[in-house]
Structures are given as C-alpha cells and as structure tokens.
Amino acid sequence: MSETKVPPRDLNRFVAEIPYARFLGITVDQKGNEITTVMAFDHKLIGNPMLPALHGGVIGAFLEMTAIIQLAFETGSAAIPKPIGLTIDYLRSGRPLDTYARAQITKQGRRVATVHAEAWQDDRSKPIAAAHGHFLLKTSEEPAS
C-alpha cells in the first residue's frame, strides 16, 4: 500500500536470519512489492493431533512474523520491529497444509505502526485467522519482546 522507500531487500535472507522463523519453516514469496509469507506444513506445528489442526499459537506467531516482514520491507529498517500488542481472530481451524499470509500496514507513524495480517490455506477467500497489531519501530528500551 505505501511505496517502498528503499530498494527491495532480500526478504528470504532477512527471514532466514531469524532462528524462530526457521523453526516454524517460514519463507517469503516476493513478487515485486507483493509479499506473501509461506509456512510449510510440518508435523511439529500440530496443536491438536485428533483433528488434526495447527497450533493456534503457531498461526498467531506466523501472522506476527508476516507483519514484521512487511514492516521490514516497507520501512527498510534493519532493526526488527517489536510487538506492543497483537489481537488474533481465529476464523477456521488450521488444517495440516501449507499456510500463507499477507500483511498490510494500516498506519505508519514515527514510532508505532499499525498492521493487519490475514492467513489462509487452500482458499484465499476463506482466511483461517486474522490479526491486527501495533509495533514499535525504533529501537528503544521500552515495551515489547
């Protein structure tokens, strides 16, 4: 939505340098300024072995990572944005399939950005979860992990 201020960076390299993103198996499919994150299905992502279904926390983490990647791309900042708050709506159970997500920056301020993200599996029109969150852009000793 907002224009890129810096030349597009290698987002897959950015992601590969985050151990937790590697642990979840997250990669980036980048076409120009369109970024789709991909979380390849793996047995270790299962939270309910009976359904089976992906762990809700994994879906939340994937959406958070998608927001971070979108912010890294659009701000061009080397610093990883820190989450302040995140609200996740669970819409459908996550089946044992690859999961995709996209994020949109709703508002980018000087210190804080508001981001919306949505995840889906085999049908883009049937999202499995959506999240919106606030992220701290500048490195500061204040909130977030």
């Binding site: 937790y20 590697r22 270790k44 939270g47 072995p49 820190k82 669970y90 992990s145």
Partner: protein, 167 residues
Amino acid sequence: MAAEFRMTPETMLAMKDMLMQHVPHMKALGVEIVDAATAQAWLRVPYDEKLIGNIETGVIHGGVITTLLDNSCGMAVQLAMNEPTSIATLDLRIDYMKPATPGLALTAHAHCYKTTRNIAFVRGTAYHTDAEDPIAACVGTFMLGANRTVPSSVAAAKAALEATAKE
C-alpha cells in the same frame, strides 16, 4: 469418544510428563506443565536458541509467548469444564510489556474466570519468576462445543493412557 474422561487438575498433574509428548508442537518447544488447579493452568517453556526472534539481542520471538499463552488458556478452559468439551480459540489479545530475558525459561499462567453455555473467558500472564512482573499479558475467548472432536489435552491424555496400557 472420551466422554467418560474428565480433565481434572489431579489428572493433569499426574500425567504432566506424558501429556505434552502427545501434542507435537508442545513437544517441539519443550513445554512442560508446571501446575494445575480448577480453571487454572501453569506452563513453562525453556529458553532455546531456536526460538530467538532477534539474533542481536537473543530475545525469544513474541510468537513463542503467544503459543505458550494460547495453550495455557486452552488448558485453563478445560480445567474449568465439568465434562470434556471441545474448544476453539475465538480470539486472543496479547500485550507485550517488556522483552523476555535471554537464557531464562518462560512461565505462563492462565485463569478461565468465566464460562457461559457457549463461551469461556480467560486471561493470562507470562513471566520469568515473578508473576507480578509480567513480560506479556493476554485476554482470550474460547468457543465451547466448537466441534465434535475431543479437546486436544483430553485427546493427548487418552493417547497417553492407551500408550501406557499397551506397555
């Protein structure tokens, strides 16, 4: 399926070592059950380099906290039920107060403080050692009787029991 099986704090604690082995993602994270009470659960995840979200600081990713809180909340709901009920997270809101300290395990405590016919209301905190000094806090709602399957904690308990019976 496991209609006769009810998850009580006693059951959960008695089975705590095997319970998490049957939930793949909990096993992958190394999560353990620390304590359980009526409508309350305490889970802990050890610090691990694979969970780092920022290699410059060594701080674990917020997603790990989300996962730990989500699971604690689900267990608290289960421990608030009088009979096994399938549950599904409707929403979860997390506030991150401060970064987790690298090298330290993280504990989450969740309390299901209200249930209605359809919905369970839960809040939780994540901290290192002092619950009064939270790293993150959450509120969530869960749909009760969301599907026909047994809840994952009950399913895991049942699988664990069956595995024990076979030995």
